[in-house]
């Protein structure tokens, strides 16, 4: 306590810039649980950037929700505390602040083009290890999987080459290592 400032107000203001955060939630697989989680975000004015949910353990009756949101560090702490308060939420884990956090997303990308653009699209896809899952004489559908930032980068390159349509799954997450959540 010796080096601490005299009061909380004397602390240097924490970086109040907004940042993105990914929360992994282990919840009871019951009707209405997703509604409560989403309703919490809506009621308190937090924004959801991506949301995935599926049953993960039938025996334990649990589902896993991964939600990506934005806010200042103080708001993110508040979101985590509020999520922990929901009765059906068993665990909340902040993946972004965990060095062992892994985030992955899958996207399906439709690109339309002929001639040199078409060849270039295929070449870029190869570099990104995107897999063509459909082709016509003037289009491709690519399947790409990776960190959200990698997908963003891929889309950026595809845009001038004739990006037509895009579908993303939203972020999934897990921790490295032997321990489960």
């Amino acid at each position: 306590m010796t080096n601490a400032p005299a009061s909380a107000y004397d602390m240097p203001p924490a970086a109040q810039a907004e940042q993105s955060a990914t929360f992994a939630l282990l919840v009871d697989n019951e009707p209405g649980v997703l509604h409560r989680v989403v309703g919490l975000f809506a009621a308190r004015g937090y924004n959801i950037e991506s949301l995935t949910v599926a049953e993960t353990d039938r025996k334990a009756h649990t589902s896993r929700i991964t939600v990506v949101t934005r806010g200042t560090p103080q708001v993110l702490d508040q979101i985590e505390a509020q999520l922990n308060k929901v009765v059906n939420v068993r665990r909340v884990h902040d993946i972004t602040r965990d060095p062992n956090g892994v985030e992955r997303e899958l996207a399906l990308v439709k690109v339309r083009g002929v001639g040199a653009d078409r060849v270039e699209a295929l070449r870029v896809a190869e570099i990104f290890r995107a897999k063509p899952v459909d082709t016509t004489l003037e289009s491709f559908v690519f399947e790409i999987c990776g960190a959200p930032s990698k997908i963003d980068k891929f889309l950026e390159l595809m845009r001038p080459l004739g990006l037509v349509e895009l579908s993303r799954t939203g972020v999934l997450s897990i921790e490295r290592g032997v321990e489960g959540m």
Partner: protein, 465 residues
């Protein structure tokens, strides 16, 4: 539909789940930070037959288990901080009441060890006795001058079961600027929500206070006599302002006077007070004095007009021999007036004490303060005759508009064994003071003798109502 206003809710799909759900619901509703739990029982389940299992025979389907025990190292640190404090203060809230009567007893014990003054939020009244010399009165927007100044100038704030609500803090960036703040709360999401605190302790108020008392004694701490003496002298100066004084008249009943007489005449009896929402609620909080917890039932943060009468019925049912009074306003009481019929039907002799100024007084006060006296929908031109209304329901009606008759008529109300509606006609334009105007700090209170109240709040504060 109920999800946004419940702590949790259930839909029963199989009658075999019903015993487990009922037991879980009671546990969730009453533990941790308490809150309502709704159980939706569809018609087919209502008709189905099932076997009952007791609370110990069912296994819970969820992992709900709120933390009640405070972290020992933080408790030790908190106790050391309090022992070093020169100007400490207890800021207590509804959490002390929710933690049960033992928490109030422990608060009193810990206060006696530390010698610090105590203030409380609206919801926490009664946890610390109003008769104790260390009691400063309620704090916040309509709190006392001494409580708010002590909060502003303290060096260690011990917040027990309160949540730094905006009615309490006033302007956030000027809230108690020089203090270290200890925050004891059972709800982790209350910590650092509005005000950043130096030392959070998650736990039940009773459990944490018990551990703090033990840690204080184990460490051999003593109250810091000399600086505490200076602190109390400063507090006495603030007390000398007598922020709750008002000018009583012989021609018309002042609302403050009405509450004060009600208090004096019910003093020493086994009394429970409920309120509606508005000026009468604040006057009741300021002028009615509570010595014990759970004697004061009011709607705080939600501010629900119409709460007082049904609440009084519940209290009367739980305490059939006690005196239960709903201090009401003439507007609030009409929100749930039909419950008078319940009172008569079930012989619940509740007393409804209406502070009748013909205005929705708190709304009028804000329109005066913030909207240039452009009064809109706050005056009631066609109020019912409350005496006839009470009689129509089969209750007793009493009206009083003469200060000289007030005592006698209050006694008539108290001594009646039937539900009574008391129409107390008071001064119409009285404002609820003292007050921290919105957008101002704790040490910028306005007192009862302000002439031009309309100019007190600047344009910036107007947005903060």
């Amino acid at each position: 539909m109920t999800r946004s206003c419940t702590k949790h809710n259930y839909l029963v799909k199989d009658v075999r789940d019903l015993p487990r759900i009922i037991h879980e619901a009671f546990k969730i509703a009453t533990t941790g930070r308490p809150g309502p739990v709704l159980i939706d029982i569809p018609k087919d389940i209502q008709f189905a037959q099932g076997e009952y299992f007791g609370p110990d025979e069912v296994t819970s389907s969820h992992a709900y288990n709120p933390r009640t025990k405070g972290e020992p190292s933080r408790i030790a640190e908190a106790v050391a901080m309090i022992a070093r404090a020169r100007r400490p203060i207890f800021y207590t809230g509804g959490g002390v009441i929710n933690a049960g009567p033992r928490a109030s007893a422990l608060l009193r014990e810990f206060q006696a060890l530390t010698g610090a003054p105590v203030t409380s939020t609206l919801m926490g009244l009664g946890a610390f006795p109003a008769a104790d010399p260390a009691w400063l009165g309620m704090l916040g927007m309509h709190g006392t001058y001494e409580a708010n100044h002590a909060m502003h100038d303290c060096d260690v704030m011990i917040c027990v079961g309160a949540r730094f609500d905006d009615r309490v803090t006033g302007r956030l960036d000027a809230f108690s600027p020089g203090s270290k703040k200890i925050h004891i709360d059972i709800d982790p999401s209350s910590i650092n929500k509005n005000v950043r605190v130096d030392l959070p302790i998650i736990g039940d108020a009773a459990s944490v206070l018990e551990d703090m008392i033990a840690a204080w004694k184990a460490a051999g701490h003593q109250a810091n006599k000399a600086p505490l003496g200076d602190w109390w002298r400063q507090i006495d100066e603030w007390r000398a302002v007598q922020c709750l004084r008002y000018n009583a008249t012989e021609s018309v009943i002042k609302p403050q006077h009405a509450i004060q007489r009600l208090y004096e005449l019910t003093r020493g009896r086994d009394t429970y007070i409920t309120t509606e929402v508005g000026q009468h609620q604040m006057w009741a909080a300021q002028y009615y004095r509570f010595e014990e917890p759970n004697r004061w039932m009011t709607s705080g943060g939600l501010g629900t007009m119409g709460y007082g009468l049904p609440a009084a019925l519940g209290v009367q049912l739980a305490h059939p021999g006690s005196l239960v009074i709903d201090i009401a306003g003439e507007a609030s009481i009409q929100m749930c007036i039909q419950e008078l019929s319940t009172a008569v039907q079930f012989n619940l002799p509740v007393k409804i004490f209406i502070i009748n100024n013909e205005w929705m007084g708190m709304v009028r006060q804000w329109q005066q303060l913030l909207h240039g006296e452009r009064y809109s929908h706050s005056y009631s031109d066609s109020l019912p005759d409350f005496v006839k209304l009470a009689e129509a329901y089969g209750a007793v009606g009493i009206r009083c508009s003469d200060p000289a008759e007030l005592d006698e008529k209050i006694l008539e109300m108290i001594n009646s064994d039937k539900p009574v509606m008391f129409d107390c006609r008071v001064e119409k334009n009285e404002n609820c003071l003292p007050m921290i105007p919105s957008g101002k700090a704790h040490n910028e209170m306005i007192l009862g003798d302000v002439e031009d109240i309309g100019n007190v709040i600047g344009a910036a504060g107007g947005g903060l109502v």
